[in-house]
């Protein structure tokens, strides 16, 4: 990888200042960014580590009952500390492998918005709010496309606020080599309706399945999804699965997610 300067600020303000430099980039846990740098697919002049900022660490419950997770909180910490939202804790506990979960962070994953990552499905299905150093962004406005988000240059995800559903489950069908989601479906049942978010499948990144949400809001059971199909046109087609296969898999995995939701 090309060389860069390394900075490790201890406050959000200092991190934002450091990111204001030319070609500076934020470093979360580095579990995607470091491999990317090794392949010379990115060449920042400065990497600004977010790992030493206490105000971006940890999990708490907000006044409105939402689960608030600091942007630099690792997947492992969410898996063990997000017991108030079991569906989210379980999702975090199956990202990558144990060593990856000890470094990778929720803010880093959401900022990267890999089309096969797990956290985008959780944020979108939960109707989470992404808090940055300048504003709050609703998850419905945040995910723009594959590896694209509403974040501006130098903007940091400092916290993510998850409304806690009555029942939820994330079901992942893994691509057998990479262990990323070939298709992953998060269902979340709230008092005012059900949200369904799908990762891994679409060329546009994570998306909500509106027809499934309507059907499940009336009848929260796997049968409610009978006969519902997704258009294969925008699906990812590659050697691991065709567009049609992924479109079909979305329905199958969504049913499994509903069946397991608790």
């Amino acid at each position: 990888m090309y060389n860069f300067e390394f900075e490790k600020p201890s406050s959000i303000a200092d991190a934002v200042a450091a990111l204001g430099g030319d070609e500076a980039q934020a470093l979360g846990g580095g579990q995607t960014l470091i491999p990317t740098l090794k392949q010379r697919l990115a060449s920042p002049t400065t990497l600004v580590s977010l790992s030493n900022i206490p105000e971006m660490q940890g999990i708490c419950t907000g006044d409105d009952g939402a689960l608030c997770i600091g942007g630099a909180t690792t997947h492992g910490a969410v898996a063990s500390g997000a017991g108030a939202y079991p569906g989210l804790a379980a999702l975090a506990g199956h990202i990558g492998d144990p060593a990856v979960r000890n470094r990778g962070t929720i803010g880093g994953s959401l900022a990267n918005n890999d089309p096969s990552a797990c956290y985008p499905a959780a944020a979108l299905a939960s109707g989470a709010t992404l808090v940055t150093n300048t504003r709050e962004i609703a998850s419905d406005d945040y995910f723009v496309g594959m590896f694209e988000t509403a974040l501006e240059e130098g903007e940091i995800v400092t916290e993510v606020r998850f409304p806690i559903p009555q029942a939820s489950h994330y079901e992942k069908f893994v691509q057998p080599a990479s262990r990323f989601a070939l298709v992953g479906v998060m269902v979340a049942k709230f008092a005012d309706g059900v949200r369904v978010a799908i990762t891994g499948a679409s060329e546009e990144g994570v998306f909500r399945w509106a027809e499934a949400e309507t059907a499940l809001s009336v009848n929260f059971s796997p049968d409610a999804l009978d006969g519902l199909t997704l258009d294969a046109d925008n699906m990812i087609g590659d050697l691991h699965g065709s567009k049609e296969y992924r479109a079909h898999l979305c329905g199958v995995i969504a049913k499994r997610a509903v069946a397991k939701a608790a």
Binding site: M1, G30, L47, G96, N102
Partner: protein, 161 residues
């Protein structure tokens, strides 16, 4: 270039690193601790697993500068100073949990992290925990046996169900 200082296997260690220097490179090339192996260099194989502040990480996917001030444990610190193997290492030897041995440093460090959190893991818990450690020789069964034995459980019970 920047100076980093960390505790490695209980001893102070320091050196000069570039921003891009990986923790695995610092351990192997600056500190000469070549027991930490680099297999894939893409965070798939787990041969480079070390502990940083008590948790297992893939040292090929962490910058040395990120470990500045940290407490690092590597395979070199596992055996006693006189060379006596620790419980996990001895169990790997007793149960033939290695053939070529390349993955073994990472397997041992991952096992140490597992047993710290879960002293009596089930066979399934062991298999799940090894998701990020690849072995090309053993087919894993003897590694599972070794870890089961290292946790003080009777390997004869493995696979009974």
């Amino acid at each position: 270039m920047a100076q980093v200082t960390m505790t490695v296997n209980g001893k102070a260690a320091s050196g000069t690193v570039e921003g891009r220097t990986l923790l695995s490179s610092f351990l192997r090339e600056t500190l000469d601790l070549t027991g930490t192996h680099v297999g894939c260099d893409t965070s798939q194989c787990g041969a480079c697993v070390v502990h940083v502040d008590g948790v297992a990480v893939k040292s090929c996917t962490m910058l040395a500068a990120e470990a500045d001030g940290a407490d690092v444990a590597t395979i070199e610190g596992q055996a006693a100073p006189d060379g006596t193997l620790n419980t996990i290492q001895q169990a790997f030897q007793d149960h033939h949990g290695l053939q070529c041995g390349f993955c073994t440093p990472g397997m041992v460090m991952t096992t140490a992290a597992l047993l710290k959190d879960n002293p009596k893991p089930s066979e399934q818990e062991i298999r799940v925990h090894l998701e990020g450690n690849i072995c090309r020789c053993t087919g894993y069964h003897n590694i599972i046996k070794a870890i089961y034995a290292a946790s003080g459980q009777d390997v004869a019970a493995l696979g009974a169900d």
